[in-house]
Amino acid sequence: MKNKFAALSIVFPLIVFLLAAGPAQAQCQLGVPAIKVGVQGAASGPHADYGRQIEMGATMAMEEINAAGGIRGCKIEIKFMDDENKAATGVKNARLLVTDWGAHFMVGTDSSGVAMALGPVLAELKRIHFFTHAATHRLTEDLVAVKGIKEIVRVSVPVYQDAIIAALIFKDRKDIKRWANIGADYEYGYVSWNLFKETLRKYRPDVEFVGEAWAPFLTLDFSPHISAVMAQKPDAIFATPWAGEAVQLLRQSLGQGVFDNVQVWWQAMGGSVDVLEGITAEVQKDRFKGKLWATARYIHNWPDTADNKAFIERFRKRWKRFPNYSAETTYSAFFIMKAAVEKSGSLDTAKVLEGLKGMQIRNPGGVRVFRSEDQQFVYNVPAGRPMMDAKYPIPVLGDLKVFAAKDYYRHPPFTPVSVTK
């Protein structure tokens, strides 16, 4: 009797294991135990929430795809690594993910500096990286369109969103003639300001750019920067510090009465969830006097579609937070990858790239269209003014200005843009 139980205790789990594992192995049509996706983002330091949002978007996409049967029957596995917003760490992670862990694809990356360092390494590793936040135009315009690094695919909108759309919105404001800049003191900030000036000058040769101050990464006190540009009596401020730095900058500017003296403050990535959460009290009290404008690479209250609403609902249920743009772009990158692999029927980089050609895909953020010349997914995101809406506990962008992507994306062949101060 005892022996019978002992035999059953071995055979029963074996049967369960075979039932569970056997068919799944048999179903995967791509000849791998699982599709491995390496995910990177800044998970430490003041911008750590962006990496966390990348991780949340990736995890949710993986769970949903696996629950629906995977990609051609293959389950997805993800491994998240903190790139610390440092180029060397990002490159080291990529090598580890591909050579040690066996990643078939990579997704994520917040920093432009990390992305630019990763580009040439991707060609060597022969793995596609879907970039979901890094914003410098050079990633796609230089590394893909000019240098031909086909392993780079960008799902998120680059600095066109931060700079060109701002110029299009404010070109008709004849009351604004003097612009000043409080910029992030690295490539993203330089390029945004240069692109903004270049675009606005085309429409408004009468506009003057009267002052600039540059705040390095990890600036805690923007008072000198605010004071320095306000000394030039600008009509409007163009600002690119992001995440917690954007919240500090806006709060510290209130202390210097900036919103009594300017007509417009453009906070490029001020539409991100963390920034909107950080300025909730000020928006409720209307302390920005309707002069604050912002955008993001996705805003959760747009587009007003069933897809987006369902995504928000699932995301909030899963994580108890609203998704910021890096969550939506990362989530969408997984479905783009899924569509390309399903179309090509392969994990081979060249074949998956073929699978991306001509792709138009509906994501929570709207329809994204793959542009082959620079491997940039094209979609549009509106800009607006932060305001309270009874449907949401935090401010949302309202009074939305919607532009077609073709009107504010740069188009190949690309002309050079200065990447210095």
């Binding site: 998970a43 430490s44 966390r52 990890l218 006190d221 920067h225 320095a228 202390g255």
Partner: protein, 285 residues
């Protein structure tokens, strides 16, 4: 002219934050001989505790600051008694390794406890708003920071120059063996000084919470500037730390106004010039 004066005033408030963090760093080095890389992390912990007591628990702002000082002081006590005191006799490389280890541990600890999202509570009502100064609006909060910095300078001067405890500390700093020989409890002095230094770092972090942010990694942002200031002023020299904080804070503000493209170099140029002319620092004989 008014703009120049106003920018100087903004620089003064910047200097006071720098003074609070560099004061603690230089006191600890001056007495214990420890180069505390984790001093910036204590600044960060002070900011997070102030956020918890004031922003989350809703305690009065002053009480929240006091509690954050006590909490960080306690952490400093544990660091000194539990870890640093064991390596006083060893090579300085061990200090660097140990204090650097604390940076990593405390950065991860705050992320685990408070999460990755930055924290920034509302400005207390009595410190919100602005005063008209030189034709511009000067934030009341910046004036408050200047006042706190000056009060701390006076209190520290009185503590070290006019009290019995201050004499003991100075005696211990001058010659710890002799101090021990005449009956001073040197380990207790070391602990007391480390706690005071930790509380100064915490004060710098705590008073900035409503206008700056509490976020993982902010300590690293501050520690570099604090080291530069202590090098310019002379390692272990409190008066030097105060004056060099003023120099760095005010010149940084003017750098932002007049040389925005090169502003970042300003502070390093000052340090390089001081190191060339007086390698021991401006105020060390």
């Amino acid at each position: 002219m008014e703009n120049i004066a106003f920018q100087g005033l903004i620089g003064l408030s910047l200097a006071m934050y720098l003074w609070l963090i560099s004061a603690g760093l230089t006191i600890i080095f001056g007495v214990l001989g420890i180069v505390n890389f984790a001093h910036g992390s204590l600044f960060m912990v002070g900011a997070y505790l102030a956020y918890t007591f004031y922003g989350q628990m809703g305690l009065p702002f002053a009480l929240a600051i006091l509690l954050s000082l006590l909490g960080t002081g306690l952490l400093g006590f544990v660091m000194e008694r539990g870890f640093l005191s064991r390596i006083y006799g060893l090579d300085e490389a061990y200090q660097l390794l140990l204090t650097f280890g604390f940076i990593l541990i405390l950065d991860d600890a705050v992320k685990i406890i408070w999460g990755g999202v930055f924290k920034i509570p509302p400005i207390p009502d009595f410190l919100d708003g602005a005063w008209p100064v030189f034709g511009r609006s000067f934030p009341v909060y910046n004036a408050f920071v200047i006042a706190v910095g000056l009060v701390v300078a006076v209190v520290l001067w009185a503590l070290f120059e006019k009290t019995w405890w201050g004499r003991i500390v100075r005696a211990t700093a001058a010659d710890r063996e002799m101090a021990s020989a005449i009956g001073i409890n040197v380990p207790r002095v070391f602990s007391g000084v480390f706690v005071v230094g930790s509380m100064l770092a915490a004060l710098g972090g705590a008073i900035g919470t409503p206008v700056r942010v509490a976020a993982p990694g902010i300590g690293a942002a501050m520690i570099i500037q604090a080291f530069i200031i202590t090098v310019i002023g002379g390692l272990g020299n409190l008066k030097g730390a105060f004056v060099s904080s003023l120099i760095v804070g005010i010149l940084s503000a003017y750098g932002t106004l007049f040389f925005p493209v090169f502003e970042l170099f300003f502070i390093f140029v000052i340090m390089a010039v001081v190191l060339l002319i007086r390698p021991q620092g401006l105020f060390t004989r």
